[in-house]
């Protein structure tokens, strides 16, 4: 940054004077330098002009993701710049780990980016605290075109009647399995629609034959619990309340305790490794289990971490319990000084055919159905092709979307991991852990 340049620029000058007889001059210079440092720092702190020296409007944009996403996003933004020469982007991106810590800190400092990527974990947290701009007026005025989006998809961005984010990509739960391993041992592949009991029996058989645990134990995974609850006619949330009871969670924990006892899953410590959300740690790619419970659009990323062939189907049970979920959103910071431009950028990224082609399916299936069709016809990556195909197949069976998770959802997720692990490590019974979990959830969403 700027301040770093001033002391280094001064250094050669000071060295030049070392031999000079005028010590007073040197002293004065030194004092000036000492005094200058805080001044420069201060000046740098106020140097964040909105319109840069070239008179352009600067829009800051922040997202999480890997190199590939960064490249595609930068390309699409460059396209916007070429069409709108008065706009310039300040792009920041980083890995998912730590992203939300940073976003929260930036927001606290009133320094949030004009546009930021967010997911359904945090959308309600931000929306209910008025950190996001309500985009509904823009939609109604036609400045933000969501007419080509599936209805349930854009509505998955509505919190308390306000449009808090624009869904960027659609995905759904996907059970990824190691095709090569099953083929090697002549084992049948799992199929969409098999019941949980059938699936666990299948996994037990895989464990026995291959000596590799048949399935990851998803009892700590909120999305697996969520699908399972919906299959029981329940839900994760209902209005401002929990949509399930202690008995439901007890049955869920018992289902997987049974699976572990039968050897269908790995041991608790390996399950713990797989409970990390990091894609590279999913057991299906680390070779520690034959399946993992993930999001279908993560297939291409998973494939990068293994040489084995992977397959993807719906989670066990009735697939109509799954839904078209917004894999992520773009939101506008309520304090943005250029909200109109920021909305226009989001509109462009979501609806411009060229931008859509550049972005591809990196964030999930494109929300705009016309662009989705165009992208599907041109995509070449086999893993991406497969995830599109599966999502489309499942799309026909999808049930209605649930409500956007409540404030406190991230705490609910971490509490589930904690109490599911209590059972996995054998430290608590399913009933004990379920009761404690429900109590913790109630506190979290209160």
């Amino acid at each position: 940054m700027h301040p770093a340049t001033s002391p280094t620029a001064d250094a050669p000058a000071a060295r030049g004077h070392r031999t000079a007889p005028r010590r007073a001059g040197l002293l004065r210079r030194l004092t000036a330098a000492v005094l200058a440092v805080p001044l420069v720092l201060g000046a740098a702190a106020c140097g964040d002009d909105d319109a840069g020296s070239d008179g352009k409007i600067e829009i800051s944009i922040f997202w999480w993701g890997g190199d590939a996403r960064a490249k595609l996003t930068e390309e699409a933004l460059a396209l916007y710049e070429s069409k709108n020469p008065n706009v310039r982007f300040k792009k920041t991106w980083q890995a998912n780990q730590g992203y939300f810590d940073k976003l929260a800190t930036l927001t606290a400092g009133g320094d949030a980016p004009d546009i930021f990527q967010i997911d359904d974990n945090f959308l309600t947290e931000y929306a209910s605290r008025n950190a996001t701009l309500d985009l509904m007026p823009y939609k109604n005025e036609g400045k933000l075109d969501l007419s080509k989006f599936p209805e349930s998809l854009w509505q998955y961005g509505v919190v308390d009647g306000k449009l808090a984010g624009v869904a960027f990509g659609e995905n759904t739960q996907g059970l990824v399995y190691n095709k090569s391993l099953l083929a090697k041992h002549n084992l049948p592949e799992p199929k969409t629609g098999m019941s949980w009991e059938e699936f666990i029996a299948w996994a037990e058989n895989v464990s026995k034959t291959t000596k590799i645990p048949g399935t990851m134990d998803p009892s700590a995974d909120y999305k697996a619990l969520w699908v399972w609850l919906r299959q029981q006619g329940k839900d994760l949330y209902k209005g401002k309340d929990l949509g399930f009871t202690v008995e439901d969670v007890t049955r869920w924990f018992e289902l997987w305790k049974g699976a572990r006892d039968r050897g269908a899953t790995p041991t608790a410590d390996v399950i713990h490794e797989g409970n990390a959300t990091d894609i590279t740690k999913q057991l299906v790619v680390t070779g520690k289990a034959a399946t993992s419970f993930v999001w279908a659009n993560q297939m291409p990323e998973l494939k990068k971490n293994t040489t084995d062939e992977l397959g993807v189907i719906a989670y066990p049970g009735d697939p109509s319990a799954q839904w078209a979920r917004a894999s992520m959103y773009f939101s506008v910071f309520r304090g943005s000084k250029h909200a109109d431009v920021a909305v226009d950028v989001i509109n462009f990224l979501a609806n411009d055919p060229e931008a859509g082609k550049i972005l591809g399916t990196d964030r999930g299936l494109p929300s705009n159905l016309e662009i989705r069709k165009a992208v599907e016809e041109t995509v070449t990556d086999p893993a991406m092709k497969l995830s599109i195909q599966v999502e489309n197949e499942l799309g026909a069976k999808f049930g209605p979307s649930p409500q956007v998770p409540l404030k406190g959802h991230s705490k609910v997720r971490s509490e589930l991991v904690k109490f599911a692990e209590e059972v996995q490590y054998g430290r608590q019974t399913p009933a004990q852990a379920a009761a404690a979990f429900v109590e913790a959830c109630k506190a979290a969403i209160a």
């Binding site: 931000y126 008025n130 950190a131 971490s414």
Partner: protein
């Protein structure tokens, strides 16, 4: 600014300067020097105010509010002692994190000091290559709270990590140390103990201060090595032990990086590595309850101050300062 008030010491004007200095009123000199002092202090002072003092006072204020980071500071609600009440009466995970942290400090700090003193005693001899060993033992603590080191640790103490392979040589089946709730915290303790270099160097310096004639006199009186250690080395070293104990205890309480990396920032498995500072971080930045987290930080500050005060008040019973009249 400061320099303009003090006359420049140019060589030809030497005499007149001295004369001027004689006639100058002392008050003015002090005033000028004071100002110059503050000017030179200013970078540090600004840092102290801006980075430490003001944020600390702000956090004290926030600890009585429901501040959640995302809400504007002007909109926070004053909740009085609610955060403190919740912490002490209604938050089991808070007490769990206190327990984890105290356990960590109680075990890791004494063992670390014993390791540091033991190695310092070994290295306090004059034999060839001793300098090299001093450097080698000091290395781990140079790496300090580094993320890289924590990652290495996680991989070493996995189920299929290097440590278990080593145990395998002896036919012992290891545990999934870092992924086992019974052992994860112990693994962190080992990491902390292994980094005994800093107190070791301080112990070494302390050992060199012990007068050799004391040992000679003791040897003449027939005291053995063990007796010499307990009767001479330990008492003479007690100020250094005291210093290390206070410092390492505070460090131990503040352990964060390794626990954060090992558990992916969750404090897992099953909250077994949920150190106080990690819990504070999760509360503030993940769960966005910054007001509550501020209250936790202030209780932490007071607790550390109390522990330190206890050390200082008991110190006079066992710390011997050999120089001067005090014991």
């Amino acid at each position: 600014m400061a320099l303009t008030t003090a006359p420049a010491p140019t060589p030809p004007a030497k005499k007149s300067v001295r004369a001027a200095a004689k006639t100058r009123r002392p008050g003015r000199i002090r005033h000028g020097e004071g100002l110059a002092g503050y000017v030179f202090l200013s970078p540090w002072l600004l840092g102290l105010m801006g980075i430490t003092a003001i944020p600390m006072l702000l956090s004290l204020y926030l600890s009585f509010t429901n501040y959640d980071i995302l809400t504007d500071l002007s909109d926070v609600e004053w909740v009085g002692l609610e955060n403190y009440r919740r912490m002490f009466t209604a938050d089991p995970s808070y007490w769990h994190s206190v327990q984890v942290t105290v356990m960590f400090a109680l075990i890791a700090v004494p063992l670390k000091l014993v390791a540091a003193l033991g190695v310092a005693l070994l290295l306090n001899r004059a034999w060839r290559g001793v300098g090299l060993f001093r450097g080698l033992f000091y290395l781990p603590s140079l790496l300090g709270g580094s993320v890289a080191l924590a990652i290495v640790w996680v991989n070493m103490f996995n189920r299929d990590g290097a440590f278990n392979s080593f145990l395998g040589l002896f036919g012992i089946e290891g545990k999934p140390w870092v992924n086992d709730p019974e052992w994860a915290l112990e693994t962190l303790m080992v990491l902390a103990i292994w980094q005994f270099g800093a107190p070791m160097v301080i112990f070494l310096a302390g050992l060199k201060q012990v007068p050799t004639e004391l040992y000679e006199a003791a040897a003449v009186d027939g005291a053995g090595r063990v007796r010499q250690f307990f009767r001479i080395t330990l008492p003479m070293l007690s100020p250094v032990i005291f210093f290390n104990l206070v410092l390492e205890t505070i460090n131990g309480f503040q352990g964060f990086t390794a626990a954060f990396v090992l558990s992916n920032g969750t404090g897992g498995p099953v909250d077994s590595t949920l150190m106080y500072t990690l819990n504070l971080y999760i509360t503030g930045f993940t769960e966005l309850e910054m007001g509550y987290a501020s209250a936790m930080a202030w209780v932490f500050l007071v607790a550390i101050a109390l522990v330190t005060a206890v050390f200082f008040s008991t110190g006079r019973f066992w710390v011997h300062y050999s120089d001067g009249d005090g014991h």
